[in-house]
């Protein structure tokens, strides 16, 4: 139980760190002077001290939505697979619920974008809606095939099963599922090539456009939500597709887990450096790839049993 609570706290803690790590790594690779790894925390504390400016066109939605964006993600944190063997995990939640919760937070984020009658917000939500709609099927299909390989749909149980015995006989479909899930990770967290979290250029903005006139504490909440979302996806990937090393005892296992997370972050950073941001109407091609891979993993699972 302690391990359980500890991991959740840990994940929450390193969430900003991961994002700033990606940023720093990218700058490093681009021969820039990297930002400090603790930039995330600095931003957070600064925003917490600022006053909040609320648009005069905005309605009660602006005052409520940020919390509704964050809370489903926080709740999701509690449902993640264990990082240590034998640790407590929530057994009564399956992958659908988690996708649903994430969609819930996205829903309110989009509403938030529309609330302050600015053109940017509308644009952002419209693009986000477009991408989310295409992400959904890939997500569900991937989850389906993973659940079949793991022998359970509940994420916690699935993580444990996969750790207990890795499905060697299904390596191919396992790989396909992993690929499609990684694409989803990029798409859902608005990283390049789907979205560019750094710029505020109206051609490229998706996530940033939605929150363009959110300030102060609200912005802090939203940023936290973004980082938590990344952590969720990263740790899901870690414990579903890199299911090893749970059997060691606590410190080593946790360290290993964190290593996985940073590995994933590094992978994301590398991709960001090496690819250009896609035009909005090219994004479906990428997600199409994800969907195709999900289908492939299902088909290989059924037909080839591989």
């Amino acid at each position: 139980m302690t391990a359980y609570l500890l991991t959740i706290f840990l994940l929450l803690l390193i969430a900003p760190l991961l994002l700033s790590f990606i940023k720093a790594l990218k700058m490093q690779l681009l021969y820039k002077k990297p930002v400090s790894l603790f930039q995330g925390y600095r931003n957070f504390s600064k925003l917490m001290q600022k006053e909040t400016i609320v648009s005069e066109e905005a309605s009660v939605m602006t005052r409520v939505a940020p919390f509704l964006v964050l809370s489903p993600l926080l709740v999701t944190l509690f449902f993640l697979p264990p990082v240590v063997q034998g640790a407590f995990y929530v057994s009564f939640v399956d992958a659908f619920t988690i996708t649903g919760l994430i969609a819930l937070s996205t829903f309110f984020l989009m509403l938030l974008g529309l609330d302050s009658a600015s053109a940017f917000g509308g644009m952002g939500s419209s693009r986000e809606a477009f991408i989310a709609a295409l992400v959904e099927p890939a997500m569900v299909l991937t989850v389906f095939s993973v659940s079949m390989m793991a022998g359970d749909l509940g994420v916690g149980q699935a993580g444990v099963n996969l750790a207990a015995h890795f499905p060697q006989e299904h390596t191919a479909s396992f790989l396909f599922a992993a690929i499609s899930f990684f694409i989803l990770l990029i798409a859902e967290n608005g990283r390049i090539p789907v979205d560019n979290p750094e710029t505020h250029l109206e051609l490229t903005m998706v996530h940033e456009a939605m929150i363009l006139d959110i300030t102060g504490v609200y912005l802090a909440i939203i940023e936290t939500a973004a980082s938590v979302k990344f952590v969720i996806f990263a740790s899901l990937f870690a414990s579903l597709f890199l299911p090893f090393g749970l059997q060691y005892d606590v410190p080593i296992a946790v360290a290993l887990f964190l290593a996985k997370l940073f590995l994933i972050a590094a992978a994301v950073a590398l991709i960001e450096v090496n690819t250009a941001k896609l035009r909005l109407f090219k994004v479906p091609n990428l997600l199409g790839i994800a969907i195709v891979f999900a289908f492939l993993s299902l088909i290989t699972f059924y037909v080839l049993g591989a």
Binding site: E51, S59, L114, F120, S125, A133, L134, V135, I291
Partner: protein, 627 residues
Amino acid sequence: MFQFDTLSLVFTALIVLGAVPNLFYSHGYLPHIERKAHYRLHYLTFVFSMIGVVVSANALMFLLFWELMSLTSWQLILTEAKEKKTVDAARFYFLMTHFGFVFLLLFFLIATDGDLEIGFSAMHGIVSKFAYPTLLFFFILLGFLSKAGAVPLHVWLPYAHPEAPSPVSALMSGVMLKVAIYGLFRFLFNVLYPWPLEWGVVILVIGSLSSLIGVLYALSEHDIKALLANHSIENIGIILIGFGMGMIFGSMGLKVLSSFAFIAALFHTFNHMSFKSLLFMGAGAVLHQTHTKNIEKYGGLIKAMPVTALTFLLASVSISALPPTNGFLSEWMIFQSMLSSSHLDNTSLKLAIPFAIFALAMTGGLAIACFVKAYGITFLGLHRSSNAKHAHEVNGWMRAGMILMAAVVLSLMLFTPFYIGWFDKVLIGLGHLSVYAEIFPDGIWHMHSVGMHGGVVSPLILLGALLGVTALLMFGYKALHVKERIHRTWSCGYRTSARTQYSATGFAGPIRRFFGWLYKPDEHFVKESIEGYSSKFSDSHYEVHVKPLFETTLYESVAKAVNRISYWVYRLSHFEQTRYAAMIFNLMLSVLFSYRIFAHEFSWATLLLEGMVMLISIKILIIGEKQ
């Protein structure tokens, strides 16, 4: 005459749940209707006839109430027939329901040997002797799905539902469509049992198509009620997916899974009833304040109409199948039953069902987009028209109706196990296995999928957790005593105005562009460009319209054909003005000749001879030479 088994009772309950809040609402709505007597009469008859349909125990009663239902709903659409659009929509609707009725009639006549008073169980005996059960299946399908509005018989919905007064469209979309689902349940279980595998597949395919197409066309709508009507198509599709899965499992002998899928379908039926009625009520309230159905003329209504906004939000979250709402739960069940397809020992089917999963998931994503659009454009941002500016909350009765319906939605969310228990009893009544114990093995907290290594969801815990965390965060925010400043929205130094903010058309833009090959929209774009610059223009107007799928291919072509035939018949029939004697002559000739051939000795040669003789004599005596 009448029967009250569990299925009937459950659907009666559905109708009552849908109708009682609606009564309040329409009482509040009544002052704005001119023909009150007409409205009251047909409204009540409509509700009673729906109940009559679900409790009637023989074909005669069923058909009687069914037609009565169609008749009254048609009259209700005509209640406020001001412009031609309404009249046309009503006519189209009535034609479509009659079209369905034709097939139902045929089905019943074949299944009862023409003695319409016999009960349904007796019909089963007759049908099992009938040589072509699949024919009957297709009759039923056409009959009920034309009422339920499944693709490709869906075209009337986006026309008819918007034209009806809002309470009526709530009833039609929320409740009447479900009566068709009742028909499917009743007759597929009691009469056309057992099913071949193909039937389930057919229903599954229709369901997937309907769900996807419905939501896609909903996205492209900017008439709010038409948008909701298209969503009804989508949800009927989802229900049919569940139903089809149930049939597939049933015919593959997986009894438990099939019960589970059917329960999912029933549950979604109830959910759709609740939130769709609520949405239509909200739309009606908005429409009734702003006097327009065009979503582009709304905006910022959340400030003026808090109750409507809140209930509409609840319904939107629920219809977008987001946890922990009831919509999510039923869709979760349907997903689970589809995931259990891995139990099927039929590889091609196993490989096919993921496509249905894909369709359903896609539907879910698009539904979210669609309701963000509907809610955001209607209630958030700046008012886009003066009507929207001066709108205010609707009267108490209508509010009461909406709140009651919201209560129904919440009850479906909170008392899921209770409802599931009900549906379970229905399935037992229909001779299926009981799966309540499998769904709720340990108390009402956790809801299990019955499939091997299926998922679990615990709605109440989820709800509690969400509420708790949100409350905690908000409390924390309060505790911080953050300074707040009100300032206008930043938009690159310009002032934000109704014209600068995103429109519904714009919002759906990317998706419409991506699915352009399907919509084939007709776009109108005019702009007054300043001295030839394409980028600088003083004034521009963009508008896009999308016709329902299949309208041009199926419906308009049929209309054309009928026109052409009738034109020719009309021309031919005018020979009788002058040539009656010749006509009677030829008639006598052909009749006697045919009698001679058929009644005495038949041979193709003589038949051919008759044909030639008739042609010649018609040419000579009737048509004659051209002057």
